[in-house]
Structure formats: structure tokens, C-alpha cells
């Protein structure tokens, strides 16, 4: 269960971590008894930090994100977050019975923002994701990239200290994804929100993050960590991005290869 740091300790500690994952393990009941999915994960996200969790299928990265989001409980260990985190999915998860603007307003309403302020705040958030004028649009009238931007605006409407992103751009075409990488970087720097971003795409991880955390698969363990010092704005074709990607890809391949050996 995600407890709030501010509650767990005195007010000063809430500022030192956006999320603290402390020796967390998770197992599920499988056909062959209990199956360990996450094994002793310890990871901190500092306020304003951008961390990507990288791993192949079956590394439990989405499971970890669900635990941090409070949608599931760890089998062992503790997770503490600074308030309730916002979560963005691979599918936009926008509600089709509401317009783009009303989707954002619902998030504001559930957070207790007074009715009089919601409309204006929603318009501001739409402007932040460069969708001014999309307030009255229905979800099905928007393109894939626009939907993810509305979903991002809705997540930002929660004003959480921590934004969890579960492969949010995986279903988009390459050009749109590239543009959204730039957008996300810009918005992250503007809002100073902490981001924990899950992906299986090495270049995406390197292009976005300050820190890349590689998870091994079955069970998921932290295999290695890289600090990415490449200055922004980064481009997907930057040589520095490419070089680090090659290095991380080698490591990831090594992790995957291990599974074929027995």
C-alpha cells in the first residue's frame, strides 16, 4: 500500500523523495504455485527527477508501476509516495462520453477544485499540451497523438508530485512519438513534476530520462542503472543518445539471452 511520506514522517522528508520503493517484492498465484514477479526492488525518485524503467517483456515493469500507483499491494516491502501519483496508460483511457475538456475537468472535480475554476484550469492545461481549441472535441474526433496529449493534460490536472507513465507512446507512429518526446520533455521541465516512465524502447528511455534503470526479467530485479548527462534538447538521432542506447541495448540483450540458456 502506498503510504504518504508526509504522513509517515515529518514534513521535511516529503520533499526529499517523490517516490520511495523500499525492498519491494511481488508474487502472483500462478499454475506452478507462487510466481515471483518482482524481487527486492529498491528505487527512489527524487523531486523533479525523470527516471525511466527499462526492461523486456515479463520484467514486471507495469506491475511495479501499478504498485506505485496504489492499484495493487506489494507482497513484501514498502512503497511511499508524496501524495497520490497520477498515472498515464499505453491506451489513452479517456472517457468517450465526455469531451476532451470535460475529461480534464473530471480530474479537477475529483480533486476538489471548485466548479468556477475548472473550466479555466482545463483550458490552461489544454494550452500546455498545445491543444487550444480542443475543449469541446469528443475523444473519437482526436488523432492518436492528440488523445495522448489530452490524457497527459488530464494526468497533470491531478497536480500530483509524481507522474507515472506506462509506455504511453508505444502505440503511436514514429513521427508522432518523436514529437511527443519533445513535448513531454518541455512539460516536465516547465512543471517540475517527477516522472517514472516505463518502456521497452531503449532510445526512448535514453532520450527522455535523467536516469535509466534496467530491470531483468522473471523475476524483475534491478540489473543496472545509468545516469544520462546528455543536455536537453535531445534528439533521437543525437550521437550521444545513440552511443548510450547501443551500450544499454547490449546489456538488455544479455539479460534476454540468459533466459534462453536453460
Amino acid at each position: 500500500m502506498a503510504t504518504t511520506l508526509a504522513k509517515a514522517a515529518d514534513g521535511t522528508e516529503s520533499a526529499t523523495h517523490a517516490a520511495r520503493i523500499d525492498h519491494v517484492s511481488k508474487s502472483f498465484a500462478g499454475p506452478a504455485g507462487q510466481q515471483l514477479v518482482l524481487d527486492d526492488i529498491t528505487l527512489d525518485v527524487a523531486p523533479g527527477e525523470f527516471v525511466t524503467l527499462l526492461g523486456a517483456s515479463g520484467c514486471g515493469k507495469s506491475t511495479l508501476l501499478n504498485l506505485v500507483a496504489g492499484l495493487d499491494r506489494p507482497s513484501a516491502g514498502e512503497i511511499a509516495t508524496d501524495g497520490r501519483p497520477a498515472l498515464m496508460f499505453q491506451e489513452h483511457a479517456l472517457f468517450p462520453w465526455l469531451t476532451a475538456g470535460k475529461n480534464i475537468e473530471l480530474a479537477l472535480k475529483l480533486r476538489g477544485v471548485p466548479k468556477a475554476e475548472r473550466r479555466e484550469r482545463a483550458e490552461e492545461l489544454l494550452e500546455l499540451v498545445r491543444l487550444k481549441g480542443a475543449y469541446g472535441k469528443r475523444v473519437h474526433e482526436l488523432s492518436g497523438g492528440m488523445r495522448q496529449r489530452v490524457a497527459l493534460a488530464r494526468a497533470l490536472a491531478q497536480e500530483s508530485k509524481l507522474l507515472l507513465m506506462d509506455e504511453p507512446f508505444a502505440a503511436l507512429d514514429a513521427i508522432t512519438r518523436d514529437v511527443l518526446h519533445d513535448e513531454l520533455t518541455r512539460i516536465w521541465r516547465e512543471t517540475q513534476v517527477s516522472v517514472l516512465f516505463v518502456t521497452h524502447n531503449v532510445r526512448e528511455a535514453v532520450r527522455l530520462a535523467q536516469r535509466v534503470v534496467l530491470l531483468s526479467s522473471r523475476p524483475g530485479r534491478i540489473a543496472r542503472e545509468w545516469t544520462v548527462g546528455i543536455p536537453h534538447p535531445r534528439r533521437i538521432e543525437d550521437t550521444a543518445v545513440a552511443e548510450l542506447s547501443v551500450e544499454i541495448t547490449e546489456e538488455l540483450r544479455g539479460e534476454i539471452r540468459r533466459h534462453g540458456q536453460h
Partner: protein, 298 residues
């Protein structure tokens, strides 16, 4: 070299906005209204032709004396005369209103009972296990079977009519809502939970609106069942004091061996049932589906 660098950097901000605007424009599909002409030839003309064909065959059967007995098959014109007479005597609207007011009021009651019932069955596991199967089973029971017990319990009065309507329509409405709730994508529930919509808030803001298409389908079927149940009740339990509805009109026609009146009643029952569906339930369903992009024009 330096100059190209600086332009790239300066361009970067604008460039992104421009690129994004371009992508948005390219990927947004334009939808337009169908011209009336197309609606007419594709939607209105075919059913009108079909009805005209049926009338033509009917008239031919009478004209060419294939069926020569007006007590078996009256001419369309004879039926029309009966309808016209009823209209001129001011009775036609009375017949229709008696039945429609009963049907709609009964349906409204069914709505008030079926909606919370469906929600409880959908959300509470124990209740679902207990009465879910009974509720689905009741849907396949012809509601005419409820008329005899309702007459014995409640007597020959309007309450009996409403009871039969309720027993016919409540299961449909409740089941529609249950299947609507069952079909809510789990992703919406998860998204709702991360936004803080849990418990009753989750039901109100996420589950109910997400279940609306199934619910509206249930309402549509509920109306069809209401109307059928009511007609069964009116035919079987016709009693002069109750006022003459369309079911009683049919029964009166049978008693008087007046085939034109029987046909009049059947046609009116059919037309009213279709009209209510076309005027209320179909537009409601289309609106719900279209606003969610579930009704794609091809």
C-alpha cells in the same frame, strides 16, 4: 556553421508547435453531414416501398377475389374507413391515448425499479449469484403468463395492467444495465481509480456513464416488452369500465366479428409501438452511440 546551429535552436521551439499542428491536421478526420437526398434514398424510401408493396398485395388479394370473404380479409379501404370514422367521432385518439398513457406510465415505473435493481445485481456479487439467473430467466417468460395471476391478485383494474407491464419490462431494463456494466472496459475503472473515483463516486462518474449504451439497449427492449405486455393484458382482461384501449378495441372487434375493426386495432398497435420507438428510443440510442464515436458512417 555557427549560424546554422543558432537557427536550428531558434527554430526548435516554433518548429515543434508547427510540426504538431501539422500532424494534428493530417490525422484528424473530417466528418460531414449526410445530405438529405442520400438519407431519403437510403433510409426513408426502402421501408416506404416495402409498406406500399404489402398494401398492393393486400388490395390485389381482395380485388382479384383470391380471398372473397370480407369477414376473413377486409379490403384496405374498408379498414381505412373504420379508422377514418373513429377519427371523425373523436374516438381514435382516445383509444391510442388510453393505451399509450398506460404503457408509458408503466414503463416509467419499470425504469424506476429496474435501474437500481440492475445496478445492485451488477455490483453486488451475492445478489448477482442469488437473483441474476432468475432475472435473465424472467426475460424469456412471455409476460402474458402474468395476466391470470395479476387479475386474481389485483382484480380487473389499472393496477393489474401496471403489474403486468412491470413484470415484463423490469427484467429487460435491469438486464440491460447489468450487461452494460459488465462490458465497461477495466481500463476505465483503473483510470477512474487513479483519478480518485472510487466507491459511489466511481459508480456515478465512471460505471454508469460507461454502461449507458447497454442500458439504453435495455430500455429499448424494455419498452417493447412493456407494450406487448400491456396489449396482452388489455386483450385478456377487457372490461368496459377500464376505458377502451387498443387491446380492448381488438377484443371488441373479435366479439363483433368485425374483421375491419380487428385489422384497425392490429395496425394501430403496430404503428404506435413503432412510433414510440422511432420518436424516443432510437434517437436516444443513436445519440448515445454517436457521441462516443460508436456509430461510424460507412
Amino acid at each position: 556553421m555557427a549560424s546554422t546551429d543558432s537557427t536550428t535552436v531558434a527554430k526548435d521551439g516554433n518548429d515543434l508547435a508547427g510540426l504538431e499542428a501539422g500532424l494534428d491536421a493530417l490525422e484528424t478526420r473530417q466528418t460531414s453531414r449526410t445530405p438529405f437526398r442520400q438519407t431519403f434514398t437510403e433510409k426513408i424510401l426502402p421501408p416506404v416501398l416495402a409498406v406500399a408493396l404489402v398494401l398492393a398485395v393486400w388490395q390485389a388479394l381482395v380485388s382479384f377475389k383470391v380471398v372473397d370473404d370480407p369477414t376473413k380479409l377486409p379490403a384496405p379501404s374498408a379498414v381505412w374507413d373504420v379508422v377514418q370514422t373513429a377519427w371523425l367521432q373523436g374516438e381514435l385518439l382516445d383509444y391510442i391515448w388510453t393505451s399509450v398513457s398506460r404503457g408509458l406510465l408503466g414503463f416509467l415505473f419499470a425504469l424506476l425499479i429496474g435501474t437500481p435493481l440492475g445496478l445492485i445485481v451488477a455490483r453486488v456479487k451475492f445478489v448477482r449469484a442469488a437473483i441474476g439467473p432468475i432475472l435473465s430467466g424472467l426475460q424469456s417468460l412471455p409476460s402474458v403468463a402474468w395476466v391470470p395471476p395479476a387479475v386474481i391478485w389485483l382484480g380487473l383494474n389499472n393496477s393489474m395492467m401496471y403489474a403486468v407491464i412491470l413484470l415484463g419490462a423490469v427484467p429487460s431494463i435491469a438486464n440491460g444495465l447489468v450487461s452494460g456494466v459488465d462490458q465497461v472496459p477495466p481500463l476505465f475503472l483503473r483510470a477512474g481509480r487513479t483519478l480518485g473515483a472510487t466507491g459511489l463516486k466511481g459508480t456515478w462518474h465512471i460505471v454508469l456513464p460507461a454502461a449507458l449504451p447497454g442500458y439504453v439497449a435495455g430500455l429499448k427492449q424494455g419498452w417493447a416488452f412493456s407494450w406487448r405486455s400491456l396489449m396482452a393484458a388489455e386483450i385478456i382482461a377487457s372490461f368496459p369500465d377500464l376505458g377502451v384501449g387498443l387491446g380492448q378495441l381488438l377484443e371488441n372487434g373479435r366479439n363483433a366479428s368485425d374483421m375491419a375493426m380487428v385489422f384497425e386495432a392490429i395496425l394501430l398497435i403496430l404503428v404506435v409501438g413503432i412510433a414510440i420507438d422511432l420518436l424516443i428510443f432510437s434517437p436516444l440510442e443513436r445519440w448515445v452511440l454517436r457521441s462516443r464515436g460508436l456509430l461510424v458512417k460507412n
